[in-house]
Amino acid sequence: MRQYNSMRRLTSLLFLAGLGLLLAAILQRLNFGQPPMIVGDAINAAAPAQVGAANLVTSVVLAYRGFDTLLELTILFTAATAAGLALGREPGDRLADPEAGPIVRAGADLFFPLLLVVGLYIIFHGHLTPGGGFQGGVILAAAFFMPQLARPASRLEHRMTTLIEGLAGATFILIGLLALFEGEAFLTPLLGVGTLGTLLSAGTLPMLYLAVGLKVGAELAGLLASLAEMGAEE
């Protein structure tokens, strides 16, 4: 046993030394404070005229790196599906938890519409102000989890969230495919640039972000709800 422990320590030390060597080698080649990339400056200069989104982050996330975002959504979908499979046992006739106290119930009633508005605002203004589909979607998921926190007996409609999730994901891909019919590359923004800084600008980007927001929100709300419905360990 002692020999095994000392072996393990030796391996850890060797690993640490190797990691330190690698980091030192990288640090030596790196000019601190001088980014070698010029992509950022190029995108900053070209994006407002090319994409028309006032929020440059959005024009990178959805226009220049739209395919990347699609794969990100796929990863999230796979993770949520795997979690759903692991948790997917029916709650059965297990007794629901008792209702929360009056403070939590009143807070949930108060926060539900507020969070809904904030989430939708962040999604719809994703191409204008910071934020977007991912952040707004998480806020939407939190909004729909709130009533369940206050009244555990009220169950979320899982069929509904799955439907919204599927439709939103299909819409994202469909908008991407529409660009192919226009003779452009997959997920190229369509419908023109519009006026910079107005709500109806940046072509299909707001639609894409709406799809992202609904998908992320439905997915995470479903995940939280199924985790909550599982309840405590029997």
Binding site: V57, I122, F134, Q135, L223, L227, G231, A232
Partner: protein, 98 residues
Amino acid sequence: MEWLVLIIVVVMLGAAVAVLLLQHYLAVLAAWSVVSLGLSVLFVIVRAPDVAMTEAAIGAGLSSVLFALVLRRVGLWRIDTGVPGDAVKKLPGREPQR
């Protein structure tokens, strides 16, 4: 601005140490989300509002809820229902927590 960053970093470090030292799992979770919240304020200060939003929504909000639900699922934390006889089952090697 620098003193603000200093305060936030000290709070974050304190919370991070508290994560290691605290005994109650829910308290650990709260301290851990304080780290995320401080980080999101730091992101705002370095003018990365998009990242700050993500950090606040996912790091401080959603994953804390997720971890709380998982703690409940694996039996390390139970909601106090107030029902007599609803005693917390003692797990081997761990103190039950309410």
